[in-house]
Symmetry: C2
Subunit: 390 residues, 2 copies
């Protein structure tokens, strides 16, 4: 079992040596002379948990900057969908590589994806060494043959990476998937032990259409269908009532909050304070490069915190420590990954961050500097599953 020693690193306020054995942290107070295959001299660096990006569309990195500053319908129908219609499997592979390299450069070791040609993304994740939860996407518009192919992927799934990749059942949304298929996806997920990844209550239009068609709001609708449970990852969740927040909290649903996307598309202001008060599990996602326009979770943390404050009128909402947890351990927990925290016994996923970076100076409060000030250029090493990646 390989050993990696990180020497003289700042860890929770003290200088220490961190030892990794195999893919787990074995000691946060190791002697400085432990024989190790790999030694990192980390004076001036702090060890911090890496990011878990809970909602994205990796291969859409190819569409970064392709269409901006326009209304959602025009954006989708005149730009995004026509571009995607021309994308080949090779493009999806290239887009996945580009996205994962960007994620590593900006400190993420995990992403929860929803896209197509999943085997191409599996290949990229496996090779580049990070973790992912990849959605097998269901839409009503797919043919029977396509749907049964997707069922086959789920049925015959074997993780080539030795534990870093999982699949999810991913019905796209309530407006692209009918009630029967939403329910069928839920039973496939339950029976196969998969998570259920869906876009939910992203826009006012989605809510209004749901009320018109089903006589209730989107969260209530999914609850009536018996879909909601603690394996559900709901992306966006912008337009919800307190009653819906209580349902989400009661069912143990994980919310993936995507502030940049919601702001850029003018979808609405996420109600962080209300959802937190209701007891909801809030994590953070970047959405795709086409609507953000990057996959930088550090930047997303700042957007999440600042939007929560101005949105609620309360500057005490979403303090730095809490937002950091949403972006790290909160995401890991939602996917049952024993990571997102620097602890003996946990999976060895970490960032080593330069304390001498100018945006980290002075250091009255390391976490505040990390959440509100620093950029990804402060990240010197990204470690995933006991190995340096990137």
């Amino acid at each position: 079992m390989g050993k990696m020693l990180i020497k003289n690193v700042l860890c929770a306020g003290r200088k220490t040596n961190v030892l990794i054995e195999g893919n787990r942290f074995s000691s946060l107070s190791a002697p400085s002379d432990v024989p190790s295959e790999k030694v990192i001299e980390a004076s001036g660096l702090a060890i911090l948990p890496p990011f878990f990006n809970t909602h994205t569309h990796a291969a859409m990195s190819l569409l970064r900057g392709y269409a901006d500053d326009m209304e959602l319908h025009k954006w989708l129908t005149q730009y995004i969908w026509p571009f995607e219609a021309e994308m080949t499997s090779d493009d999806i592979e290239k887009g996945s590589y580009l996205a994962i390299k960007e994620m590593i450069a900006t400190g993420s070791v995990f992403f929860n994806d929803m896209y197509f040609d999943i085997e191409r993304t599996v290949k990229a994740v496996d090779e580049l060494g990070i973790r992912a939860s990849l959605g097998v996407t269901f839409m009503e518009s797919h043919t029977k043959a396509q749907q049964s192919e997707k069922l086959d992927i789920l049925r015959h799934w074997q993780d080539p990476s030795g534990g870093r990749i999982m699949l999810t059942v991913a019905p796209h949304s309530i407006y692209t998937v009918g009630s029967d298929l939403l329910k069928k996806c839920a039973s496939i997920a339950r029976e196969g032990g998969f998570r259920y990844h869906i876009h939910l209550s992203e826009t006012e239009k989605e809510v209004a259409d749901c009320v018109r068609l089903h006589g209730c709001r989107p969260v209530e609708y999914l609850d009536r269908l018996g879909v909601l449970g603690d394996n559900v990852i709901a992306a966006h969740v912008v337009h919800v009532t307190e009653k819906e927040a209580d349902i989400l909290a009661g069912r143990g649903v994980t919310i993936s909050h995507c502030p940049c996307s919601n702001m850029k598309l003018a979808s609405g202001i996420f109600q962080y304070k209300m959802l937190k008060k209701a007891g909801c599990r809030i994590t953070i996602g970047t959405d795709g490069d086409s609507s953000n326009n990057n996959l930088d979770m550090g930047e997303e943390m700042k957007f999440a915190a600042l939007l929560a404050k101005v949105g609620s009128g309360d500057p005490e909402t979403a303090p730095a420590e809490e937002i950091l947890r949403c972006a790290t351990a909160g995401g890991a927990e939602a996917f049952g990954i024993d990571s997102g925290r620097i602890e003996e016994g946990a999976l060895a996923d970490a960032l080593l961050v330069d304390m001498n970076d100018i945006k980290m100076q002075p250091c009255h409060n390391l976490i505040s500097n990390w959440v509100y000030s620093a950029g990804s250029e402060a990240i010197k090493y990204v470690i995933c599953d006991g190995r340096i990646v990137g």
Copy 2:
């Protein structure tokens, strides 16, 4: 007159050679063999205008992360003011150096400041080679002796940098400066050819207090005092009516929009769309490190654009090109500096940006990538007044 040749640089969509003579761009299509004291091989780099930060408090860099996530009054009275009361002139000098280094690293060549011990900040700006407009701050709480010292500074001002530094008359705000002193500052500014820098309509409390004390809203109040003109730089301007927007536009006032600070302190959502429609001149500022918590104008552009979209419910508001202009040429124009654009004859201020940076890939739209995706790590050179700085 020294020459600098920037070879093979991407400029407005084409590869070219940019020649600087002295402190101005002399050609955007120079031959590649012009004899020059300095040559930058810029293949793979794009030349872009640098940032003009129109509202900050540089020396407050020392307070980065000192107090966050709390209500304004508690923040000021229990943390910021007690800290500042202990700051020496040497601290202000150190804080100014730190801030200017951060500004250069993040692509700013100019800042409009409001703080104390101005001569220490003059020293730092002069030495580090960028531009600044430094406020001689007036508050009602200063003694007569302090006020006459300040008048002396303005009266005897001589720029040691040869054209990069100017002073402003900076009455802090309408709630810390009485009407007589506000008017006196205005006449000093008019007579001396100074700009007038003031915090304005930042919080709801400021507006409510003004209405109670003066029977009108802050912009109306300043207009009645005869203060508003095209030499006024008003920072924040969050809480204004359409009538006030018309006054600001009519008087040619420059607004310094500080989205991160307004969001983090939960001051309110800047009404970009309404103010733009009224014809107001909008520029961008970071405010101090204590309320942001960095001085990164690239990040501030993204916050400005995304907040304008979600705040108005209109994703077409604040497109990338327009926001870039607010952060560059718009700021330069407000201070009468012949810069903020890459043009023959203009002052030679520029950024050289790495097109191969992962957040700049692919390049469907360079400006979109720059405003919405890239971080300051893509900046490879910062040029101010014809010289490489940083």
